[in-house]
């Protein structure tokens, strides 16, 4: 499945373009990646999102060269590197658990790649100092990795990869081990670093919020294939499959017989909870709305919103999500067991195959 962006891309290839064509990977009997096509233009921040075992990490490892594709080709900047060993590829990786060398100091870790390239000691020291300063960790340069916190190690792993000025930076769930607050801080930092260096970032995550927040485009993986690829808005608002609708955020999947009764067309649709309005008492829906009656099964206060679960007469449980305001009087007034109606505009519903 190729994306609309890729097909409208200028034909000239840039150094940081990544292109996978018909890539498959099998481990014994198990197929990890099936006939995958993926084009990532220079400078894009692409997230590969999916549950564990969906093949996203295998794709990343094939781009890095740690795994060899069983078939298909991988190009970067037009150059075929399907069979090239990892140490010759113009890409660098930030690993899930950082993979810092435990016996080397932070400065030595960051200098490792430059040292391999045979850069002189004076050039190296200057570059390392500025790379460590860029991630605001100048004061830990002479420590060993185990003396650093998770967040600090993460930033050093980033500095160690970026110092080599790769054409593509690969990130394998780099924020997975951090706590929520630190993770959000690092997301903002990652995004700003990516803007500064302007190189292609390919980011693997199973956290949908992270993928939506960070990326120019999101590729949703399932069973070794890309289910859908597009901007955050596209994949969230217009999921093309039930899997995507369910994996990204909460979703109400309305079966086709119900939709047929309401609209006359037999199709399955997905509606986001925040697009479903809860109507109580004398609230009225507009003529174009689709309305279903039901009973309040559960009310959940989440802070910014209130979720109301409604059981309809068709036997579907719908979730509605309403913004809370500062004044309780303006919030959801329903109680459990109340008879209510729910309504949404058909434009807000995505049709699923």
């Amino acid at each position: 499945m190729s994306s609309p962006i890729a097909t409208t891309m200028a034909p000239k290839t840039a150094a940081g373009d990544v292109s996978l064509t018909g890539v498959s990977k099998t481990f014994g009997e198990m197929t990890a990646v099936q006939n995958l096509d993926l084009d990532v233009p220079q400078g894009e921040f692409l997230s590969m999102l999916g549950p564990s075992g969906s093949g996203k990490t295998t794709v990343l490892r094939m781009i890095a060269g740690f795994e060899e594709a069983t078939s298909g080709s991988i190009r970067i900047g037009g150059e075929d590197l399907t069979r090239m060993p990892p140490h010759q590829r113009p890409v660098n990786t930030v690993f899930q658990d950082y993979a810092l060398f435990p016996h080397l100091t932070i400065a030595e870790n960051v200098a490792y790649g430059l040292r391999v390239r045979g850069q002189s000691k004076t050039d190296r020291e200057a570059a390392v100092a500025s790379a460590i300063a860029q991630v605001k960790l100048g004061h830990v340069a002479s420590r060993l990795p185990h003396q650093l916190s998770g967040g600090q190690r993460q930033r050093i792993a980033l500095a160690r990869a970026l110092i080599l000025r790769p054409r593509v930076l690969l990130l394998d769930e780099p924020l997975g081990a951090l706590d929520k607050q630190l993770r959000e801080e690092m997301q903002i930092e990652l995004k700003s670093i990516q803007r500064d260096v302007g190189i292609t970032f390919i980011f693997v995550t199973h956290d949908q919020e992270e993928a939506l927040t960070l990326s120019d485009r999101v590729a949703v993986f399932n069973n070794g294939r890309i289910e859908q690829i597009g901007t955050a808005r596209e994949v969230y608002e217009y999921p093309q499959t039930e899997f995507v609708a369910r994996f990204l955020g909460l979703s109400n999947i309305i079966p086709s017989d119900t939709v047929e009764r309401l609209t006359g067309e037999a199709r399955v649709v997905s509606v986001r909870p925040e697009r479903v309005r809860l109507l109580t008492g004398t609230d009225t829906a507009s003529d174009s709305d689709i309305v279903l009656a039901g009973t309040v099964a559960e009310i959940v206060y989440t802070g910014p919103t209130t979720r109301v679960l409604v059981d309809t007469a068709d036997g579907i449980r719908l979730i509605t999500e309403t913004q809370n305001s500062h004044h309780p009087a303006a919030d959801v007034q329903a109680r459990r067991g109340d008879s209510v109606r729910v309504a949404w505009t058909d434009d807000h519903a995505a049709t699923l195959p």
């Binding site: 890095a64 060269g65 740690f66 060993p85 990892p86 140490h87 010759q88 890409v91 660098n92 990786t93 690993f95 899930q96 658990d97 993979a99 810092l100 060398f101 435990p102 016996h103 490792y112 790649g113 391999v116 390239r117 160690r160 990869a161 080599l164």
Partner: protein, 275 residues
Amino acid sequence: MKRRAHLAGLLALPMFWLIGIYIFSLVMLLVTAFWTTDPFTSKVKPGFTLRNFEQLVANPAYLSTAVRTLVIALAVTVLCMLISVPLGIFMAKIAKPWLRALLAVAITLPLWAGYLVKILAMRVTFTDAGFFNWALAPFGITGPSFSITTVVLTLTYLWLPYMAVPVYTAIRQLPANLFDASADLGAGAWRTIRTIVLPLIKPAIIAGSIFTFSLSLGDYIAAKFVGGSTQMIGSIIASNINLNPPIAAAFAVVPIAFVVIYLLSVQRTGALERM
């Protein structure tokens, strides 16, 4: 009080072993090294003399034997390292599980057979009419026969498991992503081994080397059966054990001194702290 009684119960046997048998016998050996022997009756007489130690240095045959033993022990240790590191990398990171299991058996197999059995196996292999000479004869080459080389090979054969097992275990425990990270940063296989693997498995190599080094220093059966005229410290101790126990005791101190010097020099590198 009850706690103390429990602790005493726990430690009684090991402490008796360590202090009563192990340390005591070593101390007795050391003391004997300062005693003298009646040259006519070979009877040991308590006393205090440094003559036994003086002889070690003064007698050129003794001195060269000590040096030869040291060289043999170092050669065995280096040879065990040279075999264990590539083998450990292959087993831990490359070999398929069945091959890894097969190699693990192959490495530890010599431990199953008796010590003398293994030495006799080497004797049969390297004897004048043995396999090596037979196999190499068409090329006009003769094997090492019974010589210092064969002693080194035999001791390497005997002690290899003590190096190979800890080295393999250490490599196995290295996180796979360190290898990936090194390659990702541009390092080829050799550089990764040199700059990442070797420094990280140094404690295991040192642990193994303490075995290969000290076991080689103390051996004399290999020299006796496959060494031809090769003499080791153990050979001299064995031949003096009845005739002149004090000189045997003095000579027994030499390998201990070598091991102590070795441990001290290793400790200076800081490698023992992480063991």
